[in-house]
């Protein structure tokens, strides 16, 4: 017969304020199997833990129930406590009397009764607990960083500096990310490229970092310390080992001014063979197979030639002809690289809201209504206008410039209820840049609230207003339309409580908000983690575990978690590096023993568990002609799905067996 001890925690007044802890403790002693029961003010305190340890020893308890807060908070604490008393740490069950009872139940008597039921259930469950032992897995001390923006760069450099090997995967031809597209950065106004490009070069030159650009992660298998990742290295058609970066080829491409350059947000052209921008790392061009004439023309070897006809020749191929190194290789194919990693870092960044969803602002069709990212390129001296602020419609200097904030932020109707956090600041910065370049221009900023919480941020916004003469108008713009070569804008000044109208507007800059990458959910699925409603990666705990995600060994930093500015992206990247360092400081990891196991004698070999397992942790085995399913304990995450799907009850989650669950229910039902 089990000897169960019950300990009811007051949690100060958190539990005791609503639950009659004494009554619960007294009732517990009458539950079959319980030989000891008491209550304490704070079970998690050192004194409280001592009471538990002493009681276990004195009363020869072999199982423990603690009625306290959520196991999420203190399960680990109490596991160690019972272990100190000489018990296996899994001979413990926590009845959640705080989150499940006192915090959510209004009536005192009801709360006390519910607490008693939960304790009964816990006793029922723990009575059938079995000692469990954690397994051991070795750690592959290499990190994969997905995304080569400022967050990924920082994380990669920090991890590499600790002496661990890093592979960085970036899907664009160059690293640099969003920050590379920016002109100046707030609130210091230093040049974005000037502070970023040294870091990019560091990545390229670091002996511990291997850079895979123009590459994407295709599949992730395995578990913490032992991930198997398949990376698709897309065909670049230029051999990175040979190319010297002279870029002679780019100038000769007949399409050199024909294709919108994504890096310039489509506001400047590129060729079919190109590097996205001057400081690109690596400075090796790619050939865009969607456009390249050579690659699009039919392969003569594959064309059927009728008698008497000439074999067709492939078109163009100029780049290959001008390359002195012979680096252009039209026969290159996508390459699948399979690598092993101990940790994965997500730094996939963000996208900008598509303002064509705002019909009232011209749906992207009015040429002089541009986005903030367009503005960054226009104002940048290496951008399409060499830094001259001009109206896209006619190339003239604008006299009246209007900024509109919260376009695709704080707009529930457009599916983006959240604040993008960066727009207030970059709008102030852009207003300042307008004033610097166009001393006579009128500048207006339509805003709802100014959110400038950050070091030097509020001062920066005030400078935009006071020193640079940006007129801030509190109110949202309702509509923009063209009239006589200019724009008319209908707005409201809510501080005076009046509608206002503005004629002869020359340039409108929309502060488009941050959204998740369009394929973030897909990526999350590939990696086996989750996103929030908006596609941002979910962290384990927003306050206490802000860079960990619910799959062990996977971390995230930067704007793929939520909208954030450069300082925050860099800070989280550093945090991730520290977390990876902690992980890699172990040679061996202890795995959670609460994993599934399958009784081969009960298994009917239906395969349901194999097909429902989210982590591909179950395989079909055969022994002497009999098939049965088997769990790979290192890959199992203990979700219990197999156990639910298993008809004969062969699959059981250790520590949460059918027997334990049924005993809990029976205890509550008082069978």
């Amino acid at each position: 017969m089990a000897r169960v001890g019950v300990f009811i925690c007051h949690c100060g007044a958190n539990i005791a304020g609503k639950v009659d802890v004494e009554a619960v403790s007294e009732a517990a002693i009458n539950i079959p199997g319980v030989v000891y029961s008491s209550h304490q003010k704070y079970s998690c305190s050192e004194a409280g833990q001592k009471v538990i340890i002493d009681a276990i020893k004195e009363n020869r308890l072999d199982r423990v129930v603690i009625g306290s807060c959520s196991p999420k908070m203190h399960e680990n604490t109490f596991r160690k406590t019972v272990q100190q008393a000489g018990l296996n740490s899994y001979m413990l069950e926590i009845a959640n009397l705080r989150e499940h009872v006192s915090w959510v139940t209004a009536d005192k008597d009801e709360a006390t009764k519910k607490a008693m039921d939960l304790v009964k259930a816990a006793v029922g469950k723990v009575s059938f607990a079995k000692p469990l032992t954690p397994g051991q897995v070795p750690v592959e001390k290499r990190a994969l960083v997905i995304g080569g923006g400022i967050a990924g760069i920082q994380a990669a450099l920090d991890i590499a500096d600790m002496g661990y090997e890093v592979v960085m995967v970036e899907r664009e031809p160059s690293i640099g990310g969003r920050m590379a597209q920016l002109d100046k950065t707030f609130p210091t106004l230093d040049c974005s490229a000037c502070i970023l490009s040294p870091r990019m070069v560091d990545v390229a030159q670091h002996p511990n970092i291997r850079l895979l650009t123009y590459s994407e992660v295709e599949n992730v298998n395995g578990y913490v310390g032992n991930f198997n990742v398949i990376i698709r290295k897309k065909a670049r058609f230029v051999d990175e080992r040979i190319c010297t970066g002279c870029l002679e080829c780019m100038g000769k491409c007949p399409l050199k001014k024909k294709i919108p350059n994504e890096f310039e947000n489509g506001r400047a052209p590129r060729g079919a063979i190109y590097v996205p921008f001057a400081q690109a790392v690596p400075k090796v061009p790619v050939i865009d197979k969607e456009y390249c004439r050579y690659l699009l023309s039919p392969d003569p070897d594959k064309v059927e030639v009728k008698e008497g006809e000439k074999k067709p020749k492939r078109k163009c191929g100029v780049c290959a002809k001008v390359c002195t190194q012979g680096a252009v290789d039209f026969n290159q194919q996508d390459e699948l690289i399979s690598e092993k990693f101990g940790a994965i870092v997500l730094a996939t960044g963000f996208n900008l809201f598509d303002h064509s969803k705002y019909g009232e602002y011209g749906a992207g069709k009015i040429p002089d209504v541009i986005t903030a990212l367009d503005f960054e390129r226009i104002v940048n001296s290496s951008g399409p206008t060499e830094g001259k602020i001009v109206r896209p419609s006619n190339g003239e200097k604008p006299k009246r410039v209007v900024f509109i904030q919260c376009v695709g932020s704080r707009d529930e109707a457009k599916g983006v209820p959240y604040c993008s956090r960066i727009c207030c600041m970059y709008t102030a910065k852009q207003a300042i840049l307008v004033r610097e370049k166009l001393p006579d221009a009128e500048i207006y900023v339509f805003y709802m609230d100014i959110r400038a919480a950050g070091k030097g941020y509020e001062e920066f916004v005030l400078r935009a207003q006071r020193e640079y003469g940006a007129n801030y108008v509190r109110g949202r713009v309702s509509r923009i339309y063209e009239s006589n070569g200019h724009m008319v804008l209908k707005a409201a000044d809510t501080l005076v409580g009046m509608p206002v109208e503005m004629d002869d507007v020359d340039l409108v800059v929309l502060a488009t908000g941050s959204i998740a990458r369009e394929d973030s959910v897909e990526l999350a699925n590939t990696i086996g983690i989750t996103t929030d409603n908006h596609g941002f990666i979910s962290e384990v705990h927003p306050k206490l575990r802000p860079v960990e995600v619910p799959r062990e060994g996977v971390f995230a930093c930067g704007a793929c978690l939520s909208p954030r500015d450069i300082p925050d992206a860099v800070a989280t990247a550093g945090a991730v590096a520290a977390k990876v360092g902690v992980l890699f400081s172990n040679d061996i990891l202890m795995s959670d023993p609460m994993v599934a196991e399958i009784d081969p004698l009960k298994c009917a070999a239906c395969g349901a568990c194999v097909s429902v397992c989210p982590y591909s942790a179950i395989t079909m085995e055969e022994f002497r002609g009999k098939k049965f399913a088997k769990v790979n304990e290192a890959m199992c995450q203990g979700c219990g799905t197999c156990s639910a799907a298993c008809r004969p009850g062969a699959a059981q989650l250790k520590g949460q067996t059918d027997e334990q669950i049924l005993r809990s229910i029976e205890a509550v039902l008082q069978w």
């Binding site: 996103t531 349901a608 989210p614």
Partner: protein, 314 residues
């Protein structure tokens, strides 16, 4: 002799002789002519016993998961559905299987037949003549229209000539036209069902014939109720525990049951189990838009995992 049966036997013998398969599963004459019985033929002599008529109500696919040699099976449309379901689960291998489909115009419901003509255990002869079933009992030939005594399920079947098979035997047929007899009132709510099943399950003697006859119940010795857990699915003759057993079985075959009715026909105390499985089947159809027995490459919906299920989005 029926042309269809001749073809059937010829095909079976051919398959055996050519070594295509080592065993043929089909129906043969039972201990009385209203009761066809399964036949397992390994030689031509046994294969000569094969028959097919409206009394062949067993779903023979129930034997497939237990046989690992090369097998040919004679399948009517509903049995073929079971075979598809078993293939979809990977429980049997297509490579080891040769399916002889038979065109089927309907099967006699023994309960209806008995109600119409009296104790069919005493029948001395029975056959389908035109649109009527003729049964001879105590020397008296009793005649009843086929539509009157056919299985409800056959009235709504539209697969009679379209059987998932390697070869089809028999001429195309017309389905039997009649009306299904539902005992369920249109407005049946939870209370009605509770009353109905407590009455029905009170008769259950826990013989497990339903389970044995069911092609989806291949767990056999590993069946969950083998645990006979006290107070849950205990071994007592108790309507509640019987309900628990049958409800559990219904859940276990949900998304895999083709509602062939083999369980109901096997039940010695006449519990209308098909009704239970139909109810569950409707829910599966509605929730997952899944038709059991339609595709060989789609696992049952309750046995699949999609990555979206990892809480992404919502």
């Amino acid at each position: 002799m029926d042309k269809l049966e001749l073809q059937l036997r010829a095909k079976a013998i051919e398959l055996l002789e050519e070594g295509e398969v080592s065993i043929i599963i089909g129906w043969g004459p039972g201990w009385n002519s209203t009761k066809a019985t399964p036949v397992f033929a390994r030689d031509g002599e046994t294969a000569e016993k094969l028959i097919f008529n409206p009394f062949c109500f067993n779903n023979l696919s129930v034997y497939l998961p237990r046989i690992s040699e090369k097998t040919a099976i004679i399948a009517k449309p509903c049995d073929a559905g079971s075979i598809v379901a078993l293939l979809a689960e990977g429980k049997i291998s297509r490579d080891n299987l040769y399916i002889i489909g038979v065109a089927c115009q309907g099967i006699v419901d023994p309960v209806k037949l008995e109600a119409a003509v009296g104790s069919i255990d005493d029948a001395t002869a029975a056959c389908l003549e035109g649109d009527n079933i003729v049964v001879e009992i105590d020397g008296e030939a009793k005649q009843v229209s086929f539509a009157e005594v056919a299985l409800d399920r056959c009235m709504s079947c539209n697969q009679q000539n379209n059987v998932f098979s390697d070869v089809m035997v028999g001429e195309p047929v017309q389905p039997v036209v009649g009306e299904a007899r539902s005992v369920v009132p249109e407005d049946a709510g939870a209370a009605w069902w509770r009353g109905f099943w407590s009455k029905e399950f009170d008769r259950c003697i826990r013989c497990y014939a339903c389970r044995e006859a069911c092609p989806a119940c291949y767990c056999r010795d590993n069946c969950a109720v083998q645990a006979l857990r006290e107070r849950w699915t205990g071994p007592r003759l108790d309507a509640q525990e019987a309900l628990m057993f049958h409800a559990q079985r219904a859940m276990h075959v949900a998304g895999r049951c083709i509602e062939c009715g083999a369980c109901e026909r096997a039940c010695p105390v006449g519990i209308p189990l098909t009704l239970l499985h139909e109810q569950v089947g409707k829910a599966v159809k509605k929730l997952f838009n899944f038709n059991v027995g339609e595709k060989v490459d789609e696992r049952p919906p309750l046995e699949t995992f999609r990555k979206e299920e990892l809480e992404s989005g919502h």
